[in-house]
Symmetry: C2
Subunit: 332 residues, 2 copies
DNA sequence: AGATGAAATGTTAACGTGAACAAAAAAAGC
DNA sequence: GCTTTTTTTGTTCACGTTAACATTTCATCT
């Protein structure tokens, strides 16, 4: 492996001069700089980041963490997050991706290994991790989940608002018997979307009904199961708000399986606007959540923190948006 | 940050003794070892991997590369790959995820930064990367795409075989007018699935028809567009083999949009068996590809290479499997 | 021309760890 | 008890880089 000392020897200068030349220091005369750069590229030199990191106390690594990679994270959510971050992180930063459930303890999470951390947080169970990172004084941005703790950069979508818009849309279409299939217990998103649902109903003077509130876990199967429960009620709902699109798709299947139709018999609204939702039959009305935008913002913020900008910790809200398609019918 | 020297001072030993104790060397007496470990955990010591890497010429990093993260890789494929690798990589290995299209040149890909590389390869355009990695003598496992080059560990699914089974299934159901919607031009998978399609037809004495061969690019939109082209033919096919599930879903939508039905009017087969395919209406008949298994095998192999095992380079084939659901009808 | 100062380059040490070699301590053999 | 061997610990250096400080080179001013 070729080092700066090899270059130094060939260029007849000291290795420090080479270091400075490669880092484009103004201390080096143009001709020497050019000569060194020339030799470096001829030898196909590439810097040893371990040595660099050791002496500079920087890791050149950004960590992107999810609550879990294997469960509870829908594929498209995951990919959109990664896309966003990847778009921002430049080539000389490493990007490290892991699920928190892969860790027994967080002792390996420290400043030497991570210049900055982006947490795509989905659950209160992430809090110990957040405290750990804060205590280690690693620049941190938490995405997707509202952290009350002061001093944390926080970027999220206003899910409550989105859910309210979705349910209001159902109410405007004449529905009064509106059920909800909830997400994973303990996830902040689950709670926010429930709140939006409840706010919309309460504002319209529709009483909350406990048997219209079904627990799900964000996958298609639980959407299916949840819908079956609702259909078995004496008085099934005429519309269902599903806390994400995956469950909405499961729910639609349960409806079909029972010989009923969407939206004629039952209207469905989802949440997320994943790629598939415009290819379901009928096309799914849903709430678009700007996942990629959130992760772009998150990556930009963490990079800015890493290079030492003292940003004032704040919350950034990315707007959700109701996407009206064909899965909601007017109830007369 | 606490170092082994800090521990050494407290334990009244040399830093080398500490190093040995922490690495559980048999040279150290049990009592000293215990004392050192005790102090280390009290001080909350965690090793500096940069220093370690520098002196040991190891990076503790495995790179997982995709042809592209933003385009051409379906979310579920991506997540399944990552899941598989994550399951195998232990906690003291870093995992880096990147798309090759993020790189202008590969100078930053070297032995210092990567102990081993897993390439989830989808296109011949990855070949320069493969050569680069080989030349740098980094342990490499190529997944998903057949590399003729000798000396490369290669793990893949037999897509030709899977595609043939899918099309044979159509033939067995009485179809003779069978079209194909292809994947991205230049992707190996595209070619293999086409070959399987052609083999099945030829074996059944059905002539290949160029207007039944439609170019797609693995996304839902192109499936939709491709199907529309087929429907506009004087003599549309009675069955379509779509080179992946995403396009199959797009195709089904195009059929619905034209007032036709699946499978009564046109039968559809997909490829991949993504999570959604059992939640489409009708449920999609498709070919299951063991993506997660492939990446588990890949990760295991690369780790084994990294710790110095001299595996004989070989190809491992993971079997595809036809999953019969409801999108194919008997043609009488 | 010599002193002065600025610009360019060189010397040395440091980052935290592991490894080769050296030394001390303990155990074994007589 | 003293040598010899074995076990355990210590010293020193190396990894490739940057940074503080030292030195040389060169232009400028009187």
């Amino acid at each position: 492996m070729v080092t700066i000392k090899d270059i130094a020897k060939l260029a007849n200068v000291s290795h420090t001069t080479v270091s400075r030349a490669l880092n484009n220091s103004p201390l080096i005369k143009e001709p020497t700089k050019r000569k060194i750069l020339e030799i470096a590229s001829q030898l196909n030199y590439s810097p040893n980041y371990n040595a660099k990191s050791l002496v500079m106390q920087k890791s050149h690594t950004i960590g992107l963490f999810f609550t879990s990679i294997s469960t509870g994270t829908s594929p498209s959510f995951f990919v959109d997050s990664l896309k966003g971050v990847n778009r921002v992180i430049s080539q000389d930063y490493n990007l490290f991706v892991r699920g928190l459930d892969d860790y027994d303890d967080y002792s390996s999470i420290n400043q030497q290994r991570f210049d900055g951390i982006i947490l795509m947080s989905q659950s209160v169970h992430d809090n110990p991790f957040i405290y750990h990172v804060l205590q280690k004084e690693i620049p941190l941005v938490v995405l997707n989940r509202d952290i009350e703790e002061a001093g944390i950069m926080n970027i999220l979508s206003n899910d409550t608002d989105g859910a309210r818009k979705a349910v209001e849309h159902l109410v405007e279409n004449g529905h009064r018997k509106i059920a909800i299939i909830e997400g994973i217990k303990g996830f902040k998103s689950t709670q926010m979307r429930l709140e939006g649902y409840q706010e919309a109903l309460t504002a319209s003077g529709i009483p909350l009904q406990s048997d219209y509130r079904i627990r799900g876990n964000y996958d298609m199967e639980s959407g299916y199961a949840g819908m079956e429960k609702l259909l078995s009620l004496k008085e099934p709902p005429t519309a269902v708000f599903c806390s994400n699109d995956d469950m909405a798709i499961g729910a639609m299947n349960a409806i079909f399986a029972n010989g009923l139709k969407v939206p004629e018999d039952i209207s469905i609204v989802g949440f997320d606007d994943i790629g598939f939702s415009q290819y379901t039959t009928p096309r799914l009305t849903t709430v678009k959540r700007p996942v990629e935008k959130i992760s772009v913002l998150g990556a930009e913020t963490v990079l800015s923190l890493v290079i030492g900008n003292k940003e004032i910790p704040k919350k950034i809200f990315a707007q959700t948006e109701l996407v009206v398609r064909d899965s909601v019918a007017k109830r007369i």
